[in-house]
Amino acid sequence: MDQILSLAADNLLSPIILSFALGLAASLARSDLAIPEAVAKAMSIYLLFAIGFKGGVSVSDHGVDGTLLLSLLAGVALSALLPLIGYALLRSMTGLDRLNAAAVAAHYGSISIVTFVAGTSVLDSSGLIYEGYMVAVAAAMEAPAILSALWLISRGGDRTMEADLWREILLNGSIVLLVGSFVIGWVTGPDGLSQIDSFIVAPFKGVLCLFLLDMGIVAGRGLRSGGRLIRPPMIAFGAIMPLIGATFGLGAGLVLGMSTGGTVLFMVLGASASYIAVPAAMRVALPEANPSIYLTLSLGITFPFNLTLGIPLYVAVARTVTGG
């Protein structure tokens, strides 16, 4: 317990979390502090490229053990399964209508790459190692949740999935960049990394700070405009659902015999909720669902929950359970 608290305190006072808090405070106070859209996009491209590349290098370095494929499968299964649980929970706990419940549920099956990065960064400072291919698992978990959610709605009968949408979802920029840079890192290995590490390793955490500043600003705006839509039962969902996701992630990690760090990352992926790929898909496929609801929940509640309390908790639990 002490260990959790001290890790949580360390975590809370890291520049990364404080940057998020600064952005949040600034936008709640209606400051005009803003990061230009193009720059926010550039930072997200940088982060995806760096994390993918480093994951690939780590795989090339340590070799692939047999669990890579199994891990990918487990990720896909988790991503497809969690929306069903989320949907049931939302319908019973919050009384959200079917359409909005499905849209929200899709977000919780998918993942947040920034939460993943924050997880790896806590692992790095704790000296816990993890499987480099977990970044590929993250990529694999982006999309299946969308299919589950659309299936939940199409049971109602009135919708079929537009053929084009599939290509868009599977080839969306973040998946392509994450997988692509993973492959580049794998192919070029430590030699490749040594050529560009002063770009993708050294400044990484600093860029992450500014990125989280922006996310704080955006989350604050979401809470300001969408906050009144989010009733207490939904806030509760935003904190309970990640715990459920993490539990499933823990199960996956244990069954696959992952390292302690890898298990933590499975928990983080299970716990985190999408706010990029899934919202875009929802605007196309379920335009009647209200973006204020799913974005506020995912970005305003679950994202800070994971960042502050969730990750230290997952680390502590995984350590206890795996004895790592």
């Binding site: 996310m215 990029i276 919202p279 875009a280 605007r283 196309v284 335009p287």
Partner: protein
């Protein structure tokens, strides 16, 4: 200068639907369009601004299409098939163009 009557159709629509809209316009025989970025806006679904989006998923664009008056109905039908379920606004203005053969 010799001018000809035409219609200027302005469609404000979510960026994620842009490709679908322009495809539908092209299929409806539209020979050209221009796309403007939108910074923000407000409507029944509330207020938004481009810098308040992480995903920039819910950003909007404005598609402007100048056409011969007799093609207006085909265009509007094609546009509505796409816009219908999505948020957005369509308006039509009378205008003059110089080289009517282009539209």
């Amino acid at each position: 200068m010799q001018t000809h009557d035409a219609k200027r159709v302005e469609i404000t629509i979510e960026a994620v639907m842009q490709r679908r809209l322009t495809q539908a316009l092209t299929e409806a025989g539209v020979t050209g369009y221009t796309i403007l970025p939108v910074l923000g806006g407000s409507g029944r679904s509330g207020e938004w601004s481009r810098s308040g989006q992480v995903s920039r998923a819910s950003g909007m664009v404005q598609v402007i299409c100048i056409i011969r008056p007799d093609r207006l109905d085909a265009l509007l039908e094609a546009a509505f098939a796409v816009v219908e379920r999505h948020i957005g606004v369509v308006s039509v203005t009378d205008c003059q163009v110089m080289r009517a053969e282009r539209f």
